[in-house]
Subunit: 216 residues, 2 copies
């Protein structure tokens, strides 16, 4: 059965993006520091067409994620890398370049209907205007075999999926940094919030990978 | 040299107490769930005059904490277990019973001068009215040998100590639970917030112990 997951880097104070996000810095002030562990992992570099990088626990966790990926759901802001409205979207083809790093079908939550967009390297953006349940259904159908549907972000989209009971398990990579402001991942989780169980901890000097199951 | 630390259980969504704290439930709704790992640890039970409990990683982390304790600083609400003002304080001798579980000198941050209070089992409450630097100085003098000064809480007091650059290292015990509201530990950390380094990770099925150093 297709599992629904998310997998995000988070500061110790709970932010997945720092203050004052902009087109130039979509992750806000110091937000890039959340992803240093990934930038230096060999597996991440390879998926992004870069050479070099480090092997080890972080690279293995990243590789696991890449191998499990069947389809992606993301919010509109994550798609276009900005706060602006659709009409003046500065990145009509998305923020992710001509060859986005997903290499699987991506479903973008939006209020504005639009034709699918086929990018290089196996990523297709499909725009879903009828809510997260519909996006979840399309992503489930698109995810091949036993691969997962990964809610990539932002925090809003993940919170919607959590509230709707659509997440089976998730991983947070806790970076040893305080951002002091920005976008909190675990907010507005519903009342009561979902019950979770610790599934696995992988530690490296750069980051702590915490994986949880959502109780059925 | 005396180190300044803190050591708190935190939910995955960053809370050290749940919503709607009261005299009956000073940790708020579901707040007790943060401390389940401690309640079942043999070392914690012994320090609280209880028998039984489990050995293992969690008990060792707890024992380490108990052994390192030289003095404690806490906020007034943590002392009396409530939100009420001093005058109508329902617990003039504190929330912690006749034999509080600290067994070392405790310095309480308050605006109201008061004579020290000697409790059973080695805990003395001293009330400090001239701010955190003064409390830190008194606690440093009281901590014997190479033992630590432990800022016990609440979140407010810890944030003040972090902003003042008075914390050397700290540990958070991340409980596999969402509280969905309450008191966040890592908030109002100053601008820029302190730089930290991951020092140690101890994992058990019940909780993840993350220890960090504050960069000098």
């Amino acid at each position: 059965m297709t599992r629904f997951t998310f997998d995000l880097s988070m500061s110790l104070d709970g932010y997945v993006a720092g203050p004052e996000p902009s087109q130039k810095e979509p992750l806000g002030k110091d937000g890039e520091s959340l992803h240093e562990w990934a930038f230096s992992a060999m597996s991440w570099r390879k998926a992004h067409g870069l050479e070099g990088g480090e092997a080890g626990a972080d690279a293995e966790v990243m590789q696991e994620h890449i191998d499990s990926l069947g389809a992606v759901v993301m919010g509109r802001k994550m798609y276009s890398g900005g706060e602006g409205g659709w009409e003046d979207d500065p990145n009509p083809r998305g923020w992710w370049g001509d060859e986005p790093p997903f290499h699987v079908p991506v479903f973008v939550l939006t209020h504005h209907a639009r034709e699918p967009l086929e990018m290089e390297g196996g990523t297709t953006f499909t725009f879903v205007t009828d809510g997260i349940e519909a996006a979840a259904e399309q992503a489930r159908a698109a995810a091949a075999g036993d691969r997962s549907v990964h809610v990539a972000g932002g925090a809003d989209a993940i919170q919607q999926f959590l509230r709707a009971g659509l997440i089976d398990e998730f991983q947070v990579h806790v970076a040893p940094v305080f951002l002091g402001g920005g976008r909190r991942l675990f907010d507005a989780l519903g009342d009561p919030p979902p019950a979770i169980e610790l599934d696995r901890v992988v530690a490296s000097p750069a980051v702590t990978h915490l994986r949880y199951r959502v109780a059925a």
